[in-house]
């Protein structure tokens, strides 16, 4: 007869091995892609003009970084994203909470929101530039506009979906309007609201790049577009990598923030 402990130990070892294999697979796919790319590009099977080898992109990245060009672009884009994100999120939360709490306001506002929401903010850029000029403000407004909608809708839905039992508890124990807002509506809506903010963050990144392609002299979007125009594609790839990196970084930061803000989930 076999030792049951030994059996389970072996089973556990097999499970561990499988897990390690999967970790390797996760790491291997990007490495494989880069290796194949490098090879095809160096042997000119792929046109190195369009698909420069990854190693040369890395050296371009380094040159741009030390020359201070890249930090400037990054700084400009991040400032725009940050300001636009705040300018969209804060009114989104406030208006969303109000719409969620007051049904007449909901009835009044919802046709406006529903009509404006499907229009990509980028399509409104000409209008935004006419009203706010071609400077920084119009870019911040463009981002704010695209961040606002997911935040306002999620916040309103978050308030609306609060279990009516909690509303009953608040009423029964005599919560006034201010306490209801701060202790029930806001924290109750927070998880769904945070999902909206996550979405807003993704859209903000999307919008800034597109906006900078159309109308800017600095920024990551400008870097991509200008290098395409002069057909020097290495800086373009650097821009693409940066966007991917910041998208990942922002979503990690927001997830961390969510854990801090919603410890009760």
């Amino acid at each position: 007869m076999k030792d049951p402990m030994e059996m389970e130990k072996n089973e556990w070892r097999r499970e561990e091995r499988r897990r390690r294999q999967q970790q390797w697979l996760t790491i291997s796919s990007p490495i494989l892609l880069l290796a194949v790319w490098e090879l095809l590009s160096r042997t000119s099977i792929m046109n190195p003009l369009f698909f420069p080898p990854p190693s040369s992109i890395v050296s371009t990245f380094w040159q741009l970084l030390v020359s201070g060009v890249l930090p400037t672009h990054i700084g400009v884009s991040l400032t725009r994203i940050f300001l636009g994100f705040l300018a969209g999120t804060i009114p989104g939360i406030v208006i969303g909470l109000l719409i969620g709490m007051y049904r007449p306001l909901r009835a009044f506002m919802s046709p406006l929101i529903m009509a404006l929401m499907p229009i990509p903010t980028l399509a409104l850029m000409p209008l935004i530039m006419i009203v706010f000029g071609i400077g920084e403000l119009s870019k911040v407004i463009t981002i704010a506009g695209s961040v606002f909608f997911p935040v306002v809708l999620n916040t309103a839905a978050g308030v609306h979906n609060i279990d009516s039992a909690y509303v009953d508890v608040a009423k029964n124990y005599g919560a006034g309007a201010k306490d209801f807002f701060l202790r029930i509506a806001f924290p109750g809506a927070l998880p769904v609201m945070m999902e909206g903010i996550q979405m807003g963050q993704a859209i903000a990144l999307l919008t800034i790049v597109a906006a900078e392609m159309v109308n800017a002299n600095e920024g990551i979007g400008y870097l991509i577009w200008s290098s395409y125009k002069i057909f020097n594609l290495k800086p373009m790839y650097v821009g693409l990598i940066l966007i991917s990196f910041f998208g990942y970084l922002f979503s990690i930061l927001l997830r961390w923030l969510q854990r801090k803000l919603v410890p009760w989930m």
Partner: protein, 268 residues
């Protein structure tokens, strides 16, 4: 109003009105409850017992009639409700949940702390005071709700099937704990249940309601000595008789409502 009457309900009627449906949930209910009395409302589903409680809890307005809760102290809230489920707010810790009522009525911080500590201790949740409800079991959650209601020190307590979702063992435990706290504080309690055992175990008086429309059908004084336990309830011949009386009433009501729906040729 009699001097020792705590709750007086007079000719209370509640109608729910919409275009397609008009339902008389409560019809001309009159009831008075003495100070310190523990009254259980028992009835079939649809008899409006929850509606009655929600009216007393000021979560709904009556369509006609009135009720009064006699106040002994103008600083105390008139009533606090213990809900069936979801009564505990998930984004507040145990301590914050228990303190909720006192905070809402702006009690002095020192008093809040004392009362909250006292009742968290009484329901045995002191080690869990700073946890969020997600890590509590169903029984512990209902203990939080009980502590919150008692800590708020209301004139009367309203309980809407607070133990219905618990398993049998937890239910007995919580019934006993509730009785212990109740005997210390001597609060007037209006308690909804559909469990006959629970009604016999807890109450001084059982009020039987009938459905469609909700009306008072019968009343039984449960004059068993206290403190009570389940063995007593099960072995006493008197309680056996009461059990059958309540059981028969509920059976009759269920049959009646079945005939009504069949008579209308539809099943809802």
């Amino acid at each position: 109003m009699n001097k020792d009457t705590k709750i007086s309900i007079k000719n209370l009627t509640k109608v729910f009105y919409s275009r397609h449906r008009q339902v008389t949930a409560l019809h001309d209910i009159s009831l008075s409850v003495k100070d310190g009395e523990f009254v259980c409302l028992v009835g079939p589903s649809g008899c409006g017992k929850t509606t009655l409680l929600r009216i007393l809890a000021q979560l709904e307005l009556p369509s006609a009639g009135e009720f009064t809760i006699r106040a002994s102290d103008s600083n105390k809230p008139l009533q606090s409700m213990i809900f069936q489920e979801h009564g505990i707010i998930p984004w507040m810790t145990v301590r914050e949940n228990v303190a909720f009522g006192l905070k809402m009525r702006k009690a002095p911080p020192k008093q809040i702390k004392e009362r909250v500590d006292e009742y968290i201790e009484k329901v045995g949740l002191a080690p869990f005071a700073n946890l969020y409800p997600k890590s509590l079991s169903g029984g512990m959650k209902q203990r939080v709700c009980i502590a919150r209601a008692f800590a708020n020190d209301p004139e009367i307590l309203l309980m809407d099937e607070p133990f219905a979702a618990l398993d049998e063992q937890n239910k007995f435990l919580l019934q006993e704990e509730l009785l212990n706290i109740w005997e210390e504080t001597k609060k007037t309690v209006l308690f909804i249940t559909h469990s006959i055992d629970e009604a016999l175990m807890l109450s001084d008086r059982v009020v039987l309601l009938s459905a469609h429309p909700g009306q008072v059908a019968d009343m039984i004084h449960i004059d068993l000595p206290r403190p009570r336990n389940m063995e007593m309830i099960r072995s006493n011949p008197k309680t056996a008789e009461w059990f059958v009386r309540i059981w028969t009433h509920l059976q009759y009501e269920v049959q009646k409502s079945r005939k009504e729906t069949e008579g209308k040729g539809r099943v809802r």
